[in-house]
Subunit: 242 residues, 2 copies
Amino acid sequence: MSIKCRFCPIRNLPLFSPMTDPELSFMESFKVGEMTIQPNTPILSAGANSPQLFTALKGFGLRYKLLEDGRRQVLSFVLPGDLIGLQAGVMNQMTHNVESTTSMTLCVFNRNELWTLFRNHPQRAYDLTWISASEERFLGEALTAIGQKSALESVCWALARIYRRLESLHMDERRSVPLPYRQQDLADALGLSLVHTNKTLAKLREQQVATWTEGRLTVNDIFALEDMGLVDSQLPQSRPLM
Amino acid sequence: MSIKCRFCPIRNLPLFSPMTDPELSFMESFKVGEMTIQPNTPILSAGANSPQLFTALKGFGLRYKLLEDGRRQVLSFVLPGDLIGLQAGVMNQMTHNVESTTSMTLCVFNRNELWTLFRNHPQRAYDLTWISASEERFLGEALTAIGQKSALESVCWALARIYRRLESLHMDERRSVPLPYRQQDLADALGLSLVHTNKTLAKLREQQVATWTEGRLTVNDIFALEDMGLVDSQLPQSRPLM
DNA sequence: GCGGCGCATTAAACTGTGACATACGGGAGG
DNA sequence: CCTCCCGTATGTCACAGTTTAATGCGCCGC
């Protein structure tokens, strides 16, 4: 049995904007279920039509595109609170894949109700547009990192961004956050080779800026990491949760 | 004096989805004016709050991010029909810059009416979300090009995409489209150096695949160009115009 | 307990792309 | 008409990052 939205485990984090009672009621009707999936489970596939959207409640995943020869570009890392599948939901065409990295718990929404949401709940519609604009902004930052920054700058940018996001989800503990991805995942996110990513992470370890080991990232000085990654803006302090 | 939306010069292109009379009426109230700007004019600046959104009616521009040391990442090329400023409009925070490359004619919309649009015109709100999702999809493709493709593959991908967009705006003429950008702009879009971009374009000219000269791009075989650029999906055949 | 697999690490060789320098043509301004 | 600037073009060399190969460690299944 699914959790009622009003009992959602993450919605009371200060990160997430509050919802009114009518909005909560609508979201409960919009939600068709909940699913828990194992690691490495595909959630959405490019080219496939999915009748559902999802919010990640727990666990980690990633979004990626594949080239025909197997090269993979990781577009972003999915963290708790992230909406999955809006692009397919709105454009009726999914051009990337989403899969879990750890076990995940997902809220499942019915895409056919999307139009009802737009008609009857303009604030929720506004929130969806905000989420899409936020994704767009992140991809712009990623494009800038890959296109213009050195490997070291890019790795610092990525780790700083991930750390800040997990911090705002209150998943930090003594300057350490869970990061259950492989080095190949970060390499594919930054357009680097695995070996070069490994060497760059070793440099950060040596300089005692950041250490990523055993599925956790420890950042000794987040400001130094942000500086090295040329991070020039703050993440929004508040965001909607679907 | 501004053109009434119903007399918009580009809205009757088959590319753009039709609008109902109430939608047209609302857009005319949403529109506060029209402006014509000279080449190299900033339209939106990162960090600035802009009270306006724009639709490009005519002319070309680009969206880009700057690093502190002057390195520039071009995020995308602005073509007629493009909406400018949605990110700032929705997130209240502009993280990239937009400027004209040629003289441009822009429809100007009042951001304060955005909430009215969401409340009273769900189809238009849906269209805005569609546009944002479409931008997101494009940035994902660009990320994949820069991160995983060789210089030649990336240049082919970019030229093929631009050609197809201009073709759907009916700006093609005997396999040639206007492309009033500099080579440095394409280099900055693909994370390449100017020299290497120049050499890659020379290769394409030698192979008689595509020729970019004197502000025009001529593509002898768009399918070959798409193949070389590993283009694996079609652009949507129809899109909303704001 | 052993073998195999997946991931992280490291060394060495290689290369696609960057950096630097120079030349040319066209356009604009004086 | 001349000069200067901008953009394009090309050659040469350097290097950040890639590729290839090998090793070690931990975990899982038999």
